[in-house]
Every structure is written in structure tokens, then in C-alpha cells.
């Protein structure tokens, strides 16, 4: 208790020095809290954009689909009965919000002047609208199940063939029997997703119309949207268990296994975050050690007195360590408080960020409140404070008492 009291009073006694050391830690920790929150918000934003504009949380296929669909897509599609059974199973699993059928293929989209290869997705318009909530219709309207010939085009694809809302186009595809087939479609809307590359080639149409074009009743994928992304492992376990019990011949793939881009972004940001953390922690290390070295030098006389009075070397080390850790605790707690305050402020300002590379639209700047980062930064700052203080504290304890008493 006395050690704490002496430490606290010494911190207060040398106000300017203590404030400098605390400020160093505050600025460092607040930056880590904010940058960590920014990175986390980016992860979440990107993750949810990918899930809600392309992949859903989980995609379920006929067994062997992932390995073989490029060579033999027709052999590895889900029959209407299988698709229905899978959807019925999924509806019994907690956290499953909605399921939707998809049929994907490539085709040639064109008008009388030009044509372009397109990645076409036949979808259930109602359920897909929920799954694709991150997709923005920038012109026209979304797909309507009652308007079979309606299609929506990615912004880049629409620009590529100079198509506008209301235009009628011809879509050329190959049926499951290998015969060329064509349907007339009408552009009802133009969309923008998070990925420009996707928008340059993507088209969506009503599933039934796509099945007509391909002359099939089968689908490729049952897409699953959950009410909570973090529930995905639990849902996957349930799907594995239930499908085995019901002997369904299916396989599944999680969104992150499809989204290579997401993993690359995460790796890149993690690298940035680690580097920035390292720089900040090195500054904190020097800030604390500098303060404690000066403190020890200034208080040599006091160290001599305490040792003369019978304080053991360990007592001197404990005293200085307590001061260093107290200083760091104050800085870390204040840093987190200030980081949280700035996080709130930035979020409330609703600043818009420009579109990131590979993306076609900007996004609101948002910082997340990440308790894990707060706890980690406090722990790391305390560990740094311990080692930054230990060396000067050991030096102080090893001073010859007589020399310390003579120190001016």
C-alpha cells in the first residue's frame, strides 16, 4: 500500500515528466484503438458486402460440383427434388434466415450492334433480393418474379453494350443438351456491387427464364443467408450432421473459401496493423524507459536513503516497477478512453470514404469498438512498461549505498 502511495505521489510530484510519458502512451494506445477499430470495420464491411452481394454465407451443391462443374456442369446440378429437400432441411436449422436457388452459366448478351460474354445468374428474385442486400440498383428496378424476361445488368456490362433500362437484348446460351438457344430479355435495372470486376461481366435473371434457356429444371446452388455471420461454424456443423443422417448427396462451401479477395485484404491490413502497432509500441517503450531512467537518476539520493534505512534491493526494484506500471496503466486506460471517444466522434460525423481499389463504390468511414484490441493494447503496454522500467530499477537497486548518498 505504501509502495502504491509513494509511486502515486512521485508521479504527481514530477508532473511535467509524468504527463509527457502518459501522453506518449495515450497517443499510442488511442491510435491503436482507432486504427484497430478501422481495420475491424473494414473486415466486417468487406465481409458483409461479399456475403450480401455475391456468395451468401454458405453455398450448397451436388456432391462433386466444386471439382467438376467446369468440365461437366450438367452432371453436378441439384435436381428440383434435391433442391427442395435441401431447402426444407436448411429451414430447420437455427440462424438460417433465407435460402435461394441459383443457376449459373456463361452466355452471350447483345443487341443488334454489339455483344459481350456475360456471367449469368438465374435467381429467385424475392429471396435473392434479401441475400443481395449489399447490391445497389443504380438505375431501374430489381428483378420481379412476375416479369420473366426481366434482367438486371452490372454497371460495367451495361456500359460495355451500351444498354439502358428498357432496352431489349438477346441472350445466347447452350442448353444442357449442347444446343445453342436464345431468349429475349429486357433490361429492368442496372446494379453496382462492391467489386467492379464482377459488375463488368455480371447479369441476373429470373431462375425460370434461365432454366428455359438451358432447357433444365435443375439448379447449381442453394445459397444460404444467416442472421449472424459468426453463427456460420455452428450452421455448418448442423448441415453436416443433418445431411449425413438424411443421406443427402451434397457438399457445401463457406463464403470465405470463395472470397480470395477478402483473405488478401485481411492479410494486407493485418500487415499494416502489425507494423503500425510495432512503431507505436517502440515509441511507448522509449517514452517509458526515458522517463524512468531520468527518474532513477534524479532520485539516487533517495535510493541511498531508503537502502540505508534497510530497504532491500527488491524493495527498490518494486518501487520503481510500481511507478512505471502505474504510469503505463494510467496512459493505457486514458488512451483507450480517448480512443473510444474519438471512435464515437468519427462514427457520428458519417464521413464518406472513396471507393477502395477493385471496388465500384465508396463507403461510410466507420470504426468498430473492439474489446479484444483494448485488452491487448493494455496488456502489451503493461508488459512494455515492466521491461522498460526493470532495467533502470535494477540499476537503481545495485547502486552502492555510499555513492548514492553522496549523489547530488
Amino acid at each position: 500500500m505504501y509502495t502504491l502511495k509513494v509511486a502515486w505521489r512521485n508521479i504527481l510530484r514530477h508532473k511535467r515528466r509524468s504527463i509527457f510519458a502518459i501522453l506518449t502512451i495515450v497517443v499510442g494506445v488511442a491510435n491503436i484503438v482507432m486504427f484497430g477499430g478501422f481495420v475491424e470495420a473494414n473486415y466486417i464491411g468487406l465481409r458483409e458486402s461479399i456475403i450480401r452481394s455475391q456468395y451468401g454465407h454458405l453455398q450448397i451443391h451436388q456432391k462433386g460440383y466444386e471439382l467438376n462443374f467446369r468440365q461437366e456442369p450438367n452432371q453436378y446440378r441439384l435436381s428440383p427434388e434435391s433442391a427442395q429437400q435441401v431447402q426444407a432441411l436448411l429451414e430447420t436449422i437455427p440462424h438460417v434466415l433465407i435460402t435461394s436457388r441459383r443457376l449459373e452459366f456463361t452466355g452471350l448478351l447483345g443487341n443488334e450492334k454489339t455483344s459481350r460474354a456475360a456471367i449469368i445468374r438465374g435467381v429467385d428474385p424475392d429471396s435473392e433480393a434479401l441475400i443481395n442486400s449489399a447490391l445497389t440498383i443504380i438505375e431501374g428496378v430489381d428483378l420481379d418474379p412476375d416479369k420473366q424476361e426481366g434482367v438486371i445488368l452490372g454497371e460495367g456490362l451495361a456500359q460495355g453494350i451500351n444498354a439502358k433500362v428498357g432496352d431489349r437484348l438477346t441472350l445466347l446460351g447452350t442448353t444442357v443438351n449442347g444446343v445453342m438457344n436464345a431468349v429475349d430479355v429486357e433490361v429492368v435495372g442496372i446494379f453496382q456491387s462492391f467489386a467492379k470486376e464482377y459488375d463488368d461481366a455480371a447479369m441476373m435473371m429470373v431462375l425460370e427464364n434461365a432454366q428455359t434457356l438451358l432447357n433444365t429444371q435443375s439448379i447449381d446452388t442453394v445459397v444460404v443467408l444467416l442472421d449472424d455471420t459468426l453463427a456460420l461454424p455452428e450452421v455448418v456443423r448442423a448441415v453436416a450432421r443433418e445431411s449425413q443422417q438424411r443421406q443427402f448427396d451434397i457438399e457445401w462451401i463457406e463464403w470465405f473459401r470463395l472470397a480470395n479477395f477478402y483473405q488478401k485484404v485481411v492479410d494486407l491490413y493485418n500487415g499494416f496493423f502489425l507494423f503500425i502497432n510495432l512503431v507505436i509500441y517502440v515509441v511507448v517503450l522509449f517514452g517509458i524507459s526515458n522517463t524512468m531512467i531520468v527518474t532513477v537518476m534524479e532520485r539516487t539520493f533517495e535510493i541511498g536513503t531508503l537502502r540505508a534505512m534497510g530497504m532491500r534491493r527488491s524493495g527498490i526494484v518494486t518501487q520503481f516497477l510500481t511507478e512505471g506500471i502505474m504510469l503505463a496503466s494510467l496512459g493505457a486506460i486514458l488512451g483507450i478512453a480517448i480512443g473510444i471517444a474519438f471512435t464515437w466522434l468519427i462514427n457520428s460525423l458519417e464521413i464518406m470514404m472513396p471507393a477502395p481499389p477493385g471496388s465500384s463504390k465508396g463507403y461510410p468511414l466507420r470504426l468498430e469498438y473492439v474489446e479484444e484490441i483494448w485488452l491487448n493494447s493494455v496488456s502489451i503496454v503493461l508488459i512494455i512498461a515492466f521491461f522498460a522500467t526493470l532495467f533502470p530499477a535494477l540499476q537503481a537497486s545495485r547502486k552502492a549505498i555510499v555513492d548514492a548518498l553522496r549523489h547530488v
Binding site: 512521485n10 539520493f301 541511498g304 536513503t305 534505512m309 534497510g310 530497504m311 534491493r313
Partner: protein
């Protein structure tokens, strides 16, 4: 057997490439309760001797026994504990801890020796502050006190744990002569009451002349060891 036995004590200091002999075969015995003044010019070795007897410094050859314990054989931790329980120090510059008030400064040795309960501690500190006339200043910090008051606090701190040995290094050097005399009398009086053996190092010739026992050193050697029979052992005059 004497309370303190110093035998053939030798101490060298390294000053650059030169080795300086600070003490040359110093021997002396000090009885329990004795009040001894160490005198001599600067560089005579009196502070070195004081530090060695106070277990603050090591020596090269010889031996020092305090209360039957050979301090040569102890390690740093044992020496620290020995000082905490058995020795009180009064320094020329008072050496009070600036962040602690008078009460807390005086209490500190009791915390280090961990010998008594909190209630006893408070009682003992209050008593000794009364005896040095500073009970009204218990909450004051050192920078709020005069030099004389600070040295009174230092004396209270040195004696609060009832040490067997009180060591004072030029305790009046930073005080005016009147205050110095008062402080010296107070220190001797209190240590007598506590039964502490006292060793005081001083330049002050007046004090040396009045001393019960005065040991003079020059160039690391004892040149005089004078014992004066004082008439009234328990009387010290407050100037």
C-alpha cells in the same frame, strides 16, 4: 564483550588508476549505550569508518562485529535487514522523502522492519513526534519545514524503531549554531532514553570537546581516543 568491535580495519578506494587507503588498521571497541564522536579533517577516514560500522559499505581486511554479529559474513539482503532492525541514520542533508509527510517519513522504518502492528506503529510515531516537538506538524511535507524541523523529523525517523545503534553523519553541518546545538542535545537525549549507542561524525570542534568519548582520525588512522568522565550522564542542555 563490547557492543561494537572494530579490529584492524582496512579500506581501499580506487580513484582512477590509483588505489587510496582510506582506513589503516583501525581498531576500537564501543560499549552499548556509549556516545562516541568521530572527528578529524576531511579525508581522514571518519565517514568511511562510520559507513562501515553502519553496514553501508564493505571493507577490505579486518573485522567488524556489532552486537556479536560479524557483519563481514552477511550478504546484502541480511545487511539490509540488519540495518532495518538495528540501525538508525541521521544525515547532514536530512534525507527526508519529499513525497511523504512528517508522519509517513517517521513511520517508514517501522514499515521496513515490519515488526509491529498498524495501531502500535501509529502510537509509536505519535509518541516520538511529541518527543521531538513536531506532533503538530505531522501532516506537513518536508518542503514546508525549516532545516531544524527537518532534522528533528530525521532524528525521530532514526529512533522510531528503537535501534541499538544511531549513526549521525555531520547532523548539524547544515544548521546554524543555535539550532545545531538544540538538535544535537535532542538527539543525544533521545538516544540515551532509547538506550541506543550513538556514533556521530562531525567537524564541529565544540562538540568534540564536550563529547563523552571522542575518537580522532587522520589519514585513515586513529590518532586520539579520548574518554571524558562527564558529571551528570543523563543531562543534555537544550540551547
Amino acid at each position: 564483550m563490547s557492543f561494537i568491535q572494530v579490529k584492524n580495519l582496512t579500506k581501499y578506494y580506487q580513484l582512477g588508476k590509483n588505489s587510496i587507503q582510506a582506513l589503516k588498521n583501525v581498531s576500537m571497541n564501543i560499549d552499548e549505550g556509549e556516545q562516541l564522536f568521530l572527528g578529524g579533517p576531511s579525508g581522514s577516514g571518519k565517514s568511511t569508518l562510520l559507513h562501515i560500522i553502519g553496514c553501508l559499505d564493505r571493507y577490505d581486511t579486518g573485522s567488524v562485529t556489532i552486537d556479536g554479529r560479524d557483519v563481514t559474513l552477511t550478504n546484502d539482503r541480511e545487511m539490509s535487514d540488519f540495518r532495518a532492525f538495528n540501525i538508525g541514520f541521521v544525515f547532514q542533508n536530512f534525507n527526508l522523502l519529499p513525497v511523504l509527510n512528517v508522519f509517513e517519513n517517521v513511520q517508514y522504518p517501522l514499515l521496513l522492519s515490519r515488526a509491529i502492528s498498524a495501531d502500535q506503529r501509529r502510537k509509536r510515531v505519535k509518541e516520538i513526534l511529541e518527543s521531538v516537538g513536531l506532533d503538530a506538524h505531522a501532516e506537513h511535507f518536508p518542503n514546508e519545514l525549516s532545516g531544524g524541523q527537518r532534522q528533528r523529523v530525521a532524528i525521530a525517523r532514526a529512533l522510531v524503531h528503537k535501534p541499538k545503534l544511531l549513526i549521525a553523519d555531520e547532523p548539524t553541518a547544515n544548521l546554524d549554531s543555535t539550532t545545531g546545538a538544540v538538535i544535537m542535545a535532542l538527539m543525544l537525549d533521545l538516544s540515551l532514553k532509547h538506550g541506543s549507542t550513538v556514533i556521530i561524525c562531525t567537524h564541529n570542534q565544540e562538540l568534540l570537546v564536550q563529547a563523552q568519548r571522542c575518537v580522532m582520525l587522520r589519514d585513515g588512522e586513529v590518532t586520539n581516543d579520548i574518554v571524558t568522565q562527564i558529571q551528570s550522564e543523563n543531562t543534555y542542555v537544550y540551547a
